[in-house]
Symmetry: C2
Subunit: 248 residues, 2 copies
């Protein structure tokens, strides 16, 4: 792991890093040291490791709970190089969207998710190895994962595959090809559904929630479209992680 | 209003009261005086104003938020006299349950709810009038309502009818005859669903949630049967009321 920049602001220490060709960011409290719970945040499609939906969660997790929070760029986003296959698939999906077609029924949609996952899941595991070697994270405390939409799509796969993750907030996704992975998840999950989500039909999201193998799982459904998750759900996720990961 | 007993325990002042023939209980912080938000708690079927599902919510609402909390007995329960019609309907419903019949499809089920509501809704309004005249409640602060199961069945009717109620936690109910009342509710609602609720099919509960006219409404669904609402939902309701009713 190579730290490429370090800044302090609002009580938070932000470190940009690379691990091989994986660009990432780590936020920890500006003060204090020693091991602490780590939350990985998976960004949404078309966003990147410092997108607003990542930062708006990361900052309160650090300041309210004293957690370490990390995010990495998905293939073709942020500080990663262009990814021709991702670019081609996204363009096709955007054409379908523009034409009013339900893109999630197109062959490009599962292909895009497969392409991203093939690189991103191993990259998350590599990043987790490296992060847990840092003094300010350590390998003795639990790890959480937060991701909605594409971050949820990747999260179901990652949490199912990664025994070091002990609790997850997931949602805004209902891909039927995730059913088997969801059934392998046994850790506590808070699962979000937007009642009027244009791209994720209500029934498909509930079916994925239903498939989760976790003894503790909660579905939080709110009115509105895909991008209208109410801010009190950020607050709810803070308490969820505080309950399952403990404080610093 | 006549106060029939007053006790202090664990930082809580408990007053039993009657208003005409309505028996009730009011909990407020042992220390302090002056107006404060009031939460009305509707008990479940077969329970009463001091049932565990009431007390387990009332106590943290008083101690964590400084709220006043009140509950009254439904017809035929607690300190109320026997109610022959309620008794007859409950007995018929219990026979159907024992025979493995879906009691909520029987004619006795809507009849029971109508019978209870015809008395309980006006009684809640009478109690609200009287409670808001007390120095330790007042009429200047908002009012919330909490009720699941029969407390939800009654709550949908009460909240729809009562403009003084500004926020409600409801759920574990999916009666189709409540759809119109639900549509008249416009205040923030947290709505609970038990994923494996024997007596309230999932789809019927979601349909009632969908019908709520509130701009802010959240569905919290958890695995398990009717009586298995996880304790973290009590914590969630505390924060919901703290957000909408404010502190003392």
């Amino acid at each position: 792991m190579r730290i490429t920049s370090e800044t302090f602001s609002d009580g938070i220490r932000e470190r940009l890093f690379t691990i091989g060709d994986i660009p990432g960011v780590l936020w920890t409290p500006a003060e204090g040291s020693g091991p602490r719970p780590l939350v990985l945040i998976g960004h949404g499609g078309g966003s990147h490791k410092k997108g607003w939906e990542v930062v708006s969660r990361a900052f309160p997790y650090v300041t309210s709970c004293g957690f370490a929070v990390a995010a990495i760029d998905a293939p073709g986003t942020g500080d990663r190089p262009e990814h021709p296959e991702v670019r081609r698939l996204v363009a096709s999906i955007q054409e379908r969207e523009a034409a009013g077609e339900p893109f999630w029924l197109s062959p490009e949609w599962p292909a895009l998710n497969e392409t991203v996952a093939a690189q991103l899941i191993p990259d998350w595991q590599t990043a987790l190895d490296a992060l847990r070697k840092l003094d300010s994270v350590g390998d003795s405390r639990p790890v959480g994962y937060y991701g909605l939409s594409q971050g949820g799509e990747m999260g179901v796969r990652l949490v199912a595959a990664e025994p070091r993750i002990g609790a997850a907030v997931l949602g805004l996704i209902g891909s039927e090809w995730l059913i088997d992975a969801a059934a392998r998840i046994t850790v506590p999950v808070e699962f979000l559904l937007q009642w009027d989500d244009e791209g994720n039909p209500r029934d498909s999201v509930m079916k994925l929630f239903d498939a989760l193998g976790s003894a503790e799982k909660t579905l939080h459904a709110n009115p509105g479209g895909h991008f209208r998750v109410p801010s009190f759900e950020i607050d709810s996720s803070i308490r969820f992680f505080a309950r399952h990961l403990g404080g610093s």
